[in-house]
Amino acid sequence: MNDFRDPSGGGASPIARLVDAFHRLPGIGPKIAQRLAYHVLRAPEEEARDLAEALMEVKRSVVLCARCQNVTAENPCRICSDKGRERTIICVVEEPLDVVAIERTGGFHGLYHVLHGVISPADGVGPEDLKIAELLARIRDVDRDVTEVIVATNPNLEGEATSMYLGRLLRPLGIRVTRLARGLPAGADLEYADDVTLGRALEFRQEV
């Protein structure tokens, strides 16, 4: 991004700052970041303001659901307050996008719990950095009818470690703990699985 250094030498220019900000977004390489920044530069002021306000609005109004920890504008979220959902089963996922992927299969009608990550000591993430305490408290105090927890973490080393650890914590509470069936390729990511494969993995889940 040297092309955008302020020629006067006084640090990063506003456009270099914007390019950097776009570049930090997932899936945006340096070329696309430059194109987006120039698009904003040329666009009418309203369009830029809309974008800025949408960004701030999402940070202001979106909170974590007090029960399932999913991102939501209402608290509790729509799924948690939906009377039609089964209240005896919770599907535990790593990220909010995994809820979207599982909802798309149409094969699950229970509740969710979002951990916001996965146990990965090499990256500095331990159990205490995830929403695990919230899951235990919720099962003990609020969702007392829960009898089964499906751990739908990704089928990789960190996902397996997380599911085994949750198994040890949940079984003493009398909860049946299951894991998505094999069929999702090892090392893959739920977010990229097709609906059919994910649906089957849910249906043929196994005891942890």
Binding site: G29, P121, D123, L184, P185, G187, A188, D189, Y192
Partner: protein, 278 residues
């Protein structure tokens, strides 16, 4: 635009860790015998159709082909040689292996010979996978790693005066890496008490080959004390928190809690049976 083929390297390696790079790519940290620790890029790994993914999971022993890239080398082929499935299926052994890998990560440098450290990590993973005691594998690995990197702890002679310290009079300093006798105590105000039995075991571990060290009997309680001593030593040498060390302990606590809860249920059932017989 030269006509030369892109330069490639083939090497064996143990995958230490992975982190996401953009949407579907990953940066994989490898421990190699000849080039030490190396970061490489694996493209498209997170997509469900990627054939590389399963071979590049952490704690896999791989044969790998790397193409020289501009900043980082790029993985073009990877074939798992050993994936240690038994170790992966057991939380205690898996957490221990993650700890060994984090230590390898902290104690090796990039692009320098690491033949010895590679052999140490490989042997420890093989031993955990075949079911050797998690405690002795971990402790012997820690001690060998410290020895190989110039941080050999002094368990026998006083750091202050060099005189042999009786185990039940010793204090120790994780920062200084050794024991301190009564005489020199005043010069090491930060020194901590150390369990005499644990110290005797550490002395034995340091002088015995692996096979014989495995015959030292450990109670659960003694194993926990050894773990606590060695974790503080490794933290002091690495000069940082080791998240994987905390996870080893968390996994064990969770297992003990589950066993206690299950035993409690069994007792209740036994009582019910006893009443039924009356």
């Amino acid at each position: 635009m030269s006509g030369r083929a892109p330069r490639v390297t083939k090497t064996e390696a143990i995958v230490i860790r992975q982190r996401r790079l953009g949407d579907a790519d990953r940066i994989v940290t490898l421990l190699t015998p000849l080039r030490g620790k190396v970061d490489v890029v694996a493209k498209g790994v997170l997509r469900s159709k990627s054939r590389l993914a399963g071979h590049l999971e952490p704690l896999t022993h791989v044969e790998i082909v790397l193409a020289h890239g501009r900043s980082l080398d790029v993985v073009t082929q990877a074939q798992a040689v050993e994936s240690f499935p038994a170790l992966r299926g057991d939380l205690d052994r898996l957490s221990a292996a993650l700890y060994l890998a984090e230590l390898a990560d902290r104690f090796t440098v990039e692009h320098a010979d690491a033949t010895g450290l590679f052999a140490l990590l490989h042997a420890a993973l093989v031993r955990l996978d075949r079911g050797d005691g998690q405690q002795v594998v971990t402790r012997m690995y820690e001690l060998a790693l410290l020895e190989a990197t110039g941080f050999r702890p002094e368990w026998t002679r006083c750091l202050g005066c060099g005189v042999e310290v009786p185990a039940d009079e010793a204090r120790w300093s994780p920062l200084e890496g050794g024991v301190i006798g009564v005489e020199c105590g005043a010069r090491y105000p930060g020194a901590l008490p150390i369990d005499a039995t644990a110290l005797r075991v550490l002395r034995a571990y340091q002088s015995l080959p692996y096979e014989e060290a495995g015959r030292v009997r450990l109670t659960d309680d003694l194993a926990a004390r050894l773990e606590q001593i060695m974790h503080s030593l490794m933290r002091a040498v690495a000069e940082r928190e080791l998240k994987s060390a905390a996870f080893v302990s968390a996994a064990r606590h969770a297992r003990v809690a589950e066993e206690t809860a299950t035993a409690g249920l069994d007792e209740i059932r036994d009582d019910e049976c006893a009443e039924a017989e009356d």
